[in-house]
Symmetry: C2
Subunit: 545 residues, 2 copies
């Protein structure tokens, strides 16, 4: 017996046609600093068709890479619609990459065209002479003549290019496994690594965003997409919005708390998505400038762990539920979302909200310990999180077929590099990065948990924990403490303080007092440097036995 079902591909071309016809009154709109530039999805359909015709006129064919170097705005949305649907590949360049990384990724992906926002011309202009494969630059929202192009690169005005084009396009039938979009991780070590999403993966991911345990996006939503469109496809919101006719509100380059508050007041979105720092900034702004934001049914926050205090502040001061979520570029990015189980009281629900969330059926997850053994999902056992599923990457993009970073993959599973625990009900709690976890006598100690425990002492300003070699236990924690100005505490006192906060076998013997924790360029603890200082004998260690 064989299935009689149609073999209809999951295609972003189908999705674009659908959203721009049956939901033609829904809108994408972009903040200008004072008001909004509005475009209905009906108009978006025409704009995407004109863009696709324009790109084809420039020689863009199946599988060719069209890069964007843009803020979140209407024109970027047109590229999201047109480029995959015409069979080309949308490569969203992260405008915040270091110059050498930006140049690397554009050359590695062999981008043929770059669409750039006028305000980003100065930035792109610096890199352009080093981009070896770029033949065309299209300037949106600005003056094309402001860009000095190197030899061999033609510059076009987005407006002029589109003006001359037909307003329909014969969107092709596309194999669902064909590439649709590419995104590079901005890893802190080594070259950025390319993740290439397929039509299938993006279509399924869009469905998940609209599912009750994803983001439950619907046509009742007006979604403020603060998370950049150059960062993991704006968490999948643009394509999901087309799927159900949710409207989109785009902040363009206005990402500071003041403008975000203005956009909230002007548009009263029902849903929003951004990293924790955006919400921290907004919270402080709202403390000084009160404003009703109860129009937000939920805001989804991910990218890094959300402090419980932030969630409580939004709930208790503003009546807004933060949805903690976990994912990464390699996971499209929707991994887990912390909807608490239904039917709980607020008080019972909080512990679930603090977690990184519950996995949906499409994201299989397991925890693997140092020996390669899968540990139980019992809410206690720690392991490195590994995931698999139809929108999880199987490898990094390699133009010549060479395998990149094979250690990130384990028998068909993606190694996330995160260490955590999973409850019997599928809720994930991350405790550390795998490279930072301390492996002591076969058990794992979370450096982050220890740091948080030490930092809760009133005399401590900062604390960073790294693993150092130990003859008996292989590895033991070393705590580097920065005392608050005018405060004093000894290693003994701090260890006593920890005695009812962490398990006895985790209590650190090794302590050092330093002036400042070394930081990376983005302000995270630089544990690599701490390890080097320890290795060079630069740290003065107190050993308690």
């Amino acid at each position: 017996m064989i299935s009689t079902m149609q073999d209809e591909p999951l295609s972003l071309a189908t999705l674009l046609k659908y959203g721009t016809t049956f939901h033609s009154d829904s809108e994408v709109s972009t903040w200008t600093g004072t008001d909004l530039r509005r475009m209905t999805y009906g108009e978006l359909g025409v704009e995407a068709a004109k863009l696709a015709n324009g790109l084809r006129g420039l020689g863009v064919g199946e599988g060719d890479r069209v890069a964007t170097f843009m803020w979140n705005n209407n024109e970027h949305m047109a590229a999201y619609g047109a480029v995959p649907a015409m069979g080309a590949v949308l490569h969203t360049l992260n405008i915040r990459l270091f110059p050498e990384q930006l140049i690397f990724v554009a050359n590695h992906a062999e981008d043929k065209v770059v669409i750039v926002d006028g305000t980003l011309i100065p930035l792109l202009g610096k890199y352009l002479p080093s981009l070896k494969t770029v033949q065309h630059v299209i300037v949106a929202n600005g003056d094309a003549s402001a860009l000095e192009a190197p030899a061999g690169v033609e510059v076009h005005s987005y407006t002029d290019l589109l003006a001359a084009q037909p307003d329909t396009f014969e969107w092709p039938e596309i194999d669902e496994r064909a590439p649709a979009a590419a995104c590079y991780t901005s890893g802190t070590t080594g070259d950025p690594k390319g993740v290439v999403y397929s039509h299938r993966s993006m279509y399924l991911h869009s469905m998940q965003v609209c599912t009750s345990n994803g983001m439950a996006l619907s046509d009742a939503d007006k979604t403020l997409a603060i998370v950049p469109m150059f960062h993991a496809m704006s968490w999948g919101l643009p394509h999901a919005a087309l799927m159900v006719g949710a409207s989109l509100v785009m902040p363009d380059r206005f990402l500071q708390p003041g403008p975000i508050a203005q956009i909230l007041a002007a548009e009263k979105p029902t849903f929003a998505a951004a990293v924790p720092t955006v919400w921290l900034g907004l919270l402080q702004h709202l403390d000084a400038n009160p404003q009703d934001i109860t129009h937000l049914r939920n805001v989804v926050v991910g990218g890094s762990a959300v402090p419980p205090s932030l969630m409580h502040a939004f709930k208790e001061k503003h009546g807004v539920d933060i949805l903690h979520a976990w994912g990464m570029t390699e996971t499209s990015p929707l991994g887990s979302v912390a909807w608490p189980p239904a039917g709980l009281s607020d008080e019972e629900a909080w512990p679930y909200r603090y977690t990184q969330g519950r996995f949906p059926s499409n994201v299989q997850a397991r925890l693997v310990d140092d020996d390669g053994t899968v540990v139980a999902n019992d809410g206690e056992a720690l392991g490195e999180l590994q995931v698999r599923g139809p929108w999880i990457t199987a490898s990094y993009y390699s133009p010549d077929g060479a395998t990149i970073d094979p250690d990130k993959f384990d028998d068909g599973w993606l190694r996330t590099g995160d260490v955590g625990k999973i409850s019997a009900k599928g809720f994930l709690t991350l405790v550390d990065r795998s490279k930072d976890v301390i492996k002591s006598g076969g058990e794992w100690i979370s450096s982050v948990d220890l740091e948080n425990a030490v930092m809760s002492h009133p005399a401590v300003a900062e604390a960073a924990v790294i693993g150092v070699p130990d003859e008996k236990w292989d590895e033991r924690p070393l705590v580097s403490v920065v005392l608050s100005p005018g405060q004093a505490a000894t290693a003994e006192e701090l260890r006593d303080y920890l005695s009812d906060k962490v398990a006895k076998w985790q209590l650190p013997e090794r302590w050092t007092f330093i002036e400042e924790v070394p930081k990376t360029s983005v302000g995270k603890f630089d544990k690599k440097r701490l390890r080097a200082q320890y290795g060079e004998g630069e740290l003065e260690i107190t050993s308690l036995v």
Copy 2:
């Protein structure tokens, strides 16, 4: 550039494992007539594993058909879980088929095993000697010794078979295009036709049921699945429930209004699904026996058109929103669901609720007229509805590869046999079956619309409209009228009455007054017989010119 995404199959085995672990506290429960037999999804996981082991012990291998002849209950749910997940094919036998049809489908599908409810033994027993491929019958919820088996057929007790089995099963990796379940249409003409769902189609359909514009099923839902599990997979609810941890309430054989009201009172489900007659019956029951049913957030009603009066009664008397939906066995069945566009007042929303609903992105739809031309989605032009998508059938199952009923397919689209119109926003309104629509001078006249208009006259009890040959217009309507007892009306009077209700060119010239409209066995107007009576000159026609 190629996609780097994992090629993880969409598999009901993955879904079963997911739902029975991470949502192990959710429940399926079955009404016994007085209370509920409860089974958690954790217990369901064990039961499914035992059933899979038991079936394997009986020789069920990959692709083998395991039929069910059962009501909606816990054991049927175990079969829904186990059979596809072990790589076999679940064939849900419709207990209401005519005997010769039931025998045809079991032989056509080559069912190897039948699981039967104890209460259905007398019914199955009659057919069993004619089922040529069945080797094993498993009796659930009843006494296996009550079944007299023909030679070559072994009878097993479900309970005894499972008792001996291990409580885990190594669920295999399954190609997503492999068959998962089969369902035969109970067409009124010809042999029943087999639709074979794949793991891919059922997984995607489950996602749609949990999507905001599908049924928005979530773990907050307790779903009363009245629509039979032998009818288009209970509209996809069982597998969708596993996907998000929604609980299921099963009515078993207690389908009358009284027991349904008892189940509602006992379990207070949030969601329910059934055909219109069930809701009509419940409405009458509630009129006589008032009961609060506001725990129902929505009920989805499909299978045939829902009278607006029924929707209004549920909303206005009971505060419950009926969701009108359209689909068929060939469409898995979720086609369109009548969620009104967001943001409308109740009054503005009603016209949308009356429609058959809006299509989701996964169900592409077009209307095709008699010449094979695709007509506009303008809410006016009529055409036969054709659909395509990943959970729409491409053909009917044929064991020997012969093509069955090729006229039902048109260049990759399924011809639904329904005539309707689609609005610019994607809302479907069906007006007729394509074989009943009247083709007059190149334009189409809905027989159903004309019947409803005539039947709104106070003197008319029933009216049936068929198309009859016409020299000038090819076809024109003939109205067969049954007057109410003691009422009188002439053809002229009735035509005058219609003059402000239908377009002038649609006004019928031909009328006949009859004692009774001939009916089919299920109570529908038998237009085939009316056409025959007209052809034989048995009807006395009044012609107005």
